[in-house]
């Protein structure tokens, strides 16, 4: 496969690939993999460059030994099957969540797969740091199979290249907008290729402020959830539903704002927020505007998914008061991924999930954990999708 990629001069290798062919000698959670992942975790948590990057620290923390061990034991459990990798996995990764590729790749790596990771052409500081860390561990030559089994590339739009790789791939992890995903799915792939698609989604936050006197924990969690990746990740909440209270709690908003650390927002941020504000006002849905340097909150009289069309991240929240949780069942559509919650009774949450349409909401997590990655993502158990179960029935 690697040799075949050389036919395309448009491809740039983000990490210099090993000259060796794919070895195919890895199996799920094999020793070399576990040890590599552990080295990566240590390097991210202790490295002087990565330690200043909250998203990289979060990745390092997620890869910590105990977490990987628990994923491993849950996966291998006491299954009657023998697990094998699925084969070659082609990761088509997003631009605006710049280190998302690492989660996609590492889960697949843990399952022992061969990986071709297509990165976006847009570079970023944290992505460069991460790639340097990965590169230096691979260069240490302690992990020969990992060095030869993982290729990091980037190329401009080119259906021929995407097709050539797709024809050799046993699974494709497609992170993209609806348009992009449709275009990629239309490209011929290997007959047995499994497509794991992560399409456009949005996330919401559900709060009950009744009886809450201390906003510290909530504010800290909300700030965490909206700050990561400039609020552009699917899992970052864009809408807050507050149960029962009729006023906009400006003291809470002020606290959230204080927890946001300084970030370099784009020069289009103010105009983007103005468009959202004016659209809501023009539709007569805007009740109140709070505009702070890092955070804009638009209180709306009602929610419709259209307001998400003019949400471009960078610290913008729609705030909607609802009388009861049941109201959500009428407004959430199938593109809702995560509900982060605060001070909501667990039985009510379970009841809500059961009452929602069958095809919506993939995760329900406490405020502050919206961005925490999990091996179950968008409803897929990725360890299952990225491996094969081999049935072995003993005979005589």
């Amino acid at each position: 496969m690697i040799h075949r990629l050389k036919h395309f001069p448009e491809i740039t290798y983000v990490l210099q690939p090993s000259e060796q062919q794919f070895s195919g000698k890895l199996s799920p959670f094999s020793e070399e993999i576990i040890s590599f992942v552990n080295a990566l975790s240590q390097a991210l948590l202790k490295g002087s460059d990565s330690a200043n990057q909250p998203n990289l620290v979060a990745l390092g923390y997620w890869l910590r030994k105990s977490n990987i061990e628990s994923i491993k034991s849950e996966f291998l459990g006491n299954s009657a099957y023998i697990y094998k990798p699925v084969g070659t996995v082609f990761h088509i990764t997003p631009a605006n969540v710049d280190i998302q590729f690492a989660y996609s790749w590492l889960i697949s790596l843990l399952m022992g797969n061969l990986n071709i990771i297509r990165l976006s052409q847009q570079e970023s500081e944290e992505r460069t740091i991460l790639l340097n860390v990965i590169g230096s561990i691979i260069d240490s030559q302690a992990y020969p199979n990992i060095a030869s089994n993982n290729v990091f590339i980037t190329y401009p739009h080119n259906d021929q290249i995407t097709k050539a790789i797709s024809l050799e791939s046993d699974a494709r992890m497609i992170w993209g907008s609806d348009t992009t995903t449709r275009a990629i799915k239309a490209i011929t792939s290997k007959v047995s290729c499994r497509d794991i698609v992560f399409s456009d989604k949005y996330s919401i936050c559900l709060l009950d402020l009744q009886g809450v006197s201390d906003y510290h924990q909530l504010a800290n969690g909300l700030a965490r959830d909206i700050q990561a990746f400039s609020q552009l990740a699917c899992s970052s909440p864009k809408v807050i539903f507050s149960v029962g209270k009729s006023n906009l709690p400006e003291d809470l908003i002020d606290k959230v704002y204080r927890h946001l650390t300084k970030e370099n927002y784009s020069s289009a941020r103010t105009t983007n927020h103005l468009v959202a504000q004016q659209m809501c006002a023009a539709r007569n849905e805007l009740l109140k505007v709070v505009r702070l340097p890092q955070l804009t909150v638009l209180q709306l009289s009602a929610f419709s998914t259209e307001v998400l069309d003019w949400h471009n991240g960078e610290g913008l929240l729609y705030w909607i008061n609802i009388e009861s949780i049941e109201q959500l069942t009428n407004v959430i559509d199938e593109k809702c991924q995560t509900i982060s919650h605060f001070n909501i009774d667990q039985t009510l949450l379970i009841k809500l999930i059961n009452e929602l349409p069958i095809n919506t909401v993939d995760r329900v997590v406490p405020v502050g954990q919206a961005l925490n990655f999990s091996i179950v993502w968008d409803g897929y158990d990725l360890t299952e999708y990225l491996s094969r179960k081999v049935t072995v029935i003993p005979g005589r």
Binding site: G176, T179, F198, L232, C234, T270, L274, M279, A282
Partner: protein
């Protein structure tokens, strides 16, 4: 509605009023228009019913992108005369602008008044740097087609310089240059087309034309040329070399605000005529900023009556260079456009390129 916008606007020289007098006059008309839109456009009244208007800078502005999402109109449906669509790149929603007959008429008047100040009153033989097919789709008014149609009335016997496939029709172009040798002629095209399909094609085929009494008008933005690192100076230099044309005027305007036409003068500055004005705002705070500092351009115009497009916050960057004192003698503000805000409209959690 015509009484909202007094006809005497269109009798005056478009650059004779100094800024202070112009602002007083504009504010009166804009205030009447504001009340008109409050009454007749629900979205506008939802937005601005409590806006104050003590000065031009206070005048409430609509983000220009709203025209992509909303149909904004201040006239009954039966008065709709023409719908203008902006040329968005493929896949993007185009902006939609609703015109009645009065607004459309004022737009043409203003265009005549302003352009005549730069190219004179005489209609000249005209070379359009495009292909004739661009006008064919009659039902939907594309900005390119509308621009060409609007400009055509300044020329005689328009000839198209390009073939349908955007290649240069060199025979036609050479015949045009030969027939009108040493006579004033008018050339018009979109900036990028002129550069890419006219000037570059002529250069590649090592052809030069002698249009020494010609005037070239071009518009449409520098975005694509910026990517090729072509400045206005370079553009003009190539025009001199390839066409032997000295008079090259860029102009700035947008479909969302009909009648706002800002033409580059002999000194290289864009000028606001009496019907329109520009204000520069800080992209982060949206506060008005001082001259010579770059910021977001807000454009104001007294021309639109059928829709609330009198004050728009654009996504273009520019700076005011001076007031009432341009070397060319025109009064009012003069400014420059410095490009667009970087695009950051994103969809969903990911925008991989296929």
């Amino acid at each position: 509605m015509s009484e909202l916008i007094p006809e005497d606007w269109f009798e005056m020289n478009p650059f004779a009023l100094n800024q202070a007098d112009k602002e007083i006059k504009m504010r009166q008309t804009l205030t009447s228009l504001h009340h008109h839109h409050l009454q007749h456009c629900e979205a506008y009244s939802n937005l601005f019913s409590d806006a104050s208007m003590d000065s031009l800078e206070d005048f409430p502005y609509l983000a220009v992108r709203l025209f992509k999402y909303l149909t904004l109109q201040s006239i009954p449906q039966e008065q709709v005369f023409k719908i203008l669509y902006s040329s968005g790149t493929t896949g993007q929603t185009p902006a939609k602008v609703i015109l009645d007959q009065d607004t459309s008429r004022r737009q043409s008047k203003v265009l005549v008044k302003v352009l005549q100040d730069f190219i004179g009153k005489k209609r000249m033989p005209m070379l359009i740097i495009d292909h004739p097919g661009v006008l064919k789709s009659k039902d939907s008014y594309s900005a390119r087609g509308a621009g060409i149609q609007g400009l055509s009335m300044f020329g005689r016997q328009p000839i198209y310089a390009l073939n349908e496939d955007m290649s240069l029709n060199i025979e036609v172009v050479q015949a045009f240059a030969e027939t009108h040798k040493n006579q004033p002629v008018l050339l018009f095209g979109f900036t990028f087309m002129v550069w890419q399909h006219f000037l570059q094609s002529l250069r590649k085929s090592e052809n030069a034309l002698n249009l020494n009494s010609g005037i070239l008008l071009h518009s449409g933005g520098w975005k694509k040329l910026e990517a090729q690192k072509v400045s206005n100076e370079e553009f003009k230099r190539v025009c001199r070399k390839t066409l032997n044309i000295e008079k090259v005027h860029n102009f700035y305007g947008m479909a969302e605000q009909v009648g706002s036409i800002f033409v580059e003068c002999e000194a290289g500055h864009l000028h606001a005529p009496i019907y329109a004005d520009v204000v520069v705002r800080d992209p982060q705070t949206l506060k008005v900023i001082d001259n010579n500092n770059p910021g977001l351009l807000q454009v104001l115009s007294i021309v639109p009556g059928s829709y609330p497009g009198n004050s728009l916050l654009t996504e273009d960057l520019g700076s005011v260079l001076g007031v009432d004192d341009c070397l060319c003698g025109r009064k009012g503000k003069y400014f420059q456009v410095l490009g667009r805000l970087p695009k950051t409209e994103v969809r969903g959690c990911s925008d991989t390129q296929a």
